[in-house]
Subunit: 330 residues, 2 copies
DNA sequence: TCACCCTTTGACAACGATGTCACGATCACG
DNA sequence: CGTGATCGTGACATCGTTGTCAAAGGGTGA
């Protein structure tokens, strides 16, 4: 900037005026400065500018998601981006991989960078560690999982309801032996889906067979192996409820490879782009990712814009989409 | 920081020392300062720190991708993140949506934020506008598409080869009437795939029927509509080459809804997570996204670490994966 | 005991930018 | 032609940090 000022024969402040398109600079000076800027390849330094301006806005928000390469996370990211785009806000995106340590480290890093807000799909169980930042005015919106130990905005879905829909649907199609495939019980959503499953089974007066309730499955491969074991047992299930999209994928693979694709009923939790063209088309509990993302983005930016109303907890209802795999009879 | 210093009864510089874990501070002072930090909820300001340190490193890199919610882009993002994670570097991710204007605006924004490097899957045709930044030392690595007008690192795949593989494969299975579905010809990869398709057809002495060469398809819905039109014609194709994953998805949907899923051969370009369990399993030209991502990340960080060797242009070879849909005979 | 060294700490300027305020020049007006 | 208002510009301090250098205090060896 100093060099630009020298080359244009003006003061630093005047360069600043031109760069910020402030009014009250003569046309002649503007062109001289702009020429100097172009000639020297000068680039305005936003960090320094923000520092001086003091208000602190960096026009950056953080998005801490489960895994940016997972379709649910990346759709949320995209929704947030669409909203951010209008405001010239950029997004720092990271994957937590369900690792609490990583969450804490990343939050720390983003706070040090003074992001204007945080979208969090937490990997931790308790969130008191965020209390200070929250109090000091950092907007944080939880998505997919609720805050615990602090009170802040959240957008989640009713996971128990989703599980209930799945179970009742399978029961209505004549199933009694329903297997449950779930993720790590340390993950809030996975736990709630599991509890919802058992509650629904009890509500329908069906026994819960521990050997058919498999949790801590992390990948399609885990699910595939689990399904192979299930179907090799003496009394295999007639239906499977896969409580996460990647587990449904693994289940489909297993059924295909065992040649039982049309025989065992399957309901997945979470829709995904191709669920309608797999074989058989997959019946799923759908959460409307677009609606979740839009709600989250709106909340976050409202807070950034100064909304100080009490935290809001939005719970969206998932719905069951019949496509075929869930309507197979025993 | 001033308040922390006052509360701990030390100077600013000493607080700085403690915060940066510099040696040569007595244990007593360290604990006093740390207590003050905790009590006041003080957060180190990275922007100010970077400003003063002058070296300019912000520990941020930008990733400008086609669409972060698309599986190819998000896998690349994830690969980059895995490498960045080790170095405590965060990623600013954005979608360009094939809009040149957006690319320029985002690059501008990231340069103003002084990112340490840029991963770019460009939406623009010419990239001279980056020359200044490149010259001033900003590492830029192109992915999926080559730089034009500047010389900088790139990691791409041999798209023409991919198209050739597809055509030869279909021809070997007895097809002569092969339809081509492609994206906007303004997109470099789409253009190259199209050219590769026509070159391969000529090499096999097959006529290129303009009515069966459809480009500018942007979404699965576009592809679906195109396939419906194709199959409604007097002389429908016996095979389809869908030169992008979302177009293959639309094609599969169309074939399903028309009840021709097992009759028309189909080869897609780009693999995707569920291609093996759709019906029939999809034969694709696969690009190894993991390898691309790893290569890109390595290049970018090598440059950031000061590698000044001449720009390298890595071209990876795609391969054909037989799964069923491409082996259907006319 | 004295000169010298090492350890620990602080004062100060500077990183790149901008808000504040003051200054000189131009202008309109009576 | 004097006066006050308006316009364009610049000097300076400051945002939150840290590199540099110097000083205070204690320890060591001759």
């Amino acid at each position: 900037m100093r060099e630009v000022a020298a080359l244009a024969g003006v003061s630093l402040k005047t360069v600043s005026r031109v760069v910020n398109r402030e009014s009250g600079v003569s046309a002649d000076v503007v062109t001289r400065v702009e020429r100097a800027v172009a000639q020297l390849g000068y680039r305005h330094n936003l960090a320094a500018s923000n520092l001086r301006r003091g208000h602190g806005k960096t026009a950056m928000v953080g998005a801490l998601l489960q895994d940016v390469s997972n379709s649910f996370s990346s759709s949320l990211l995209r929704s947030l981006e669409d909203e951010a785009r209008d405001r010239d806000v950029v997004i720092v995106a990271s994957s937590l991989d369900e690792e609490p340590e990583r969450e804490r480290a990343l939050v720390e890093g983003l706070v040090r960078r003074r992001v204007d807000g945080l979208l969090l799909m937490p990997a931790t169980d308790r969130h008191d560690y965020l209390a200070d930042d929250l109090r000091s005015g950092l907007p944080i919106v939880f998505v997919d999982r609720s805050p615990n130990g602090i009170d802040t905005d959240s957008v989640t879905i009713d996971n128990a309801r989703g599980s209930r829909l799945a179970v009742y649907h399978l029961v209505a199609h004549g199933h009694r032996r329903i297997a449950f495939l779930g993720d790590l019980p340390t993950i809030q959503t996975a736990r709630t889906r599991h509890e919802g499953f058992e509650a629904a089974m009890r509500a329908r007066h069906l026994p819960i067979d521990p050997s058919m309730t498999i949790t801590s499955l992390r990948s399609p491969e885990d699910a595939e192996a689990a399904v192979r074991r299930l179907l090799a047992s003496d009394e295999p299930p007639t239906a499977i409820f896969a409580a996460r999209n990647s587990l449904a994928v693994g289940t489909i693979r297993a059924l295909h490879r065992l040649g039982k694709a049309g025989e065992i009923a399957l309901v997945g939790f979470d829709d995904f782009p191709l669920a309608d063209i797999v074989d058989p088309p997959l019946t799923v509990i759908r959460q409307n990712v677009g609606a979740i993302g839009a709600e989250v983005a709106q909340r976050l930016f409202a807070r950034i814009d100064g909304d100080t109303s009490p935290p809001r907890h939005v719970v969206l209802a998932p719905e069951l989409v019949e496509r075929g795999s869930g309507e197979i009879r025993p």
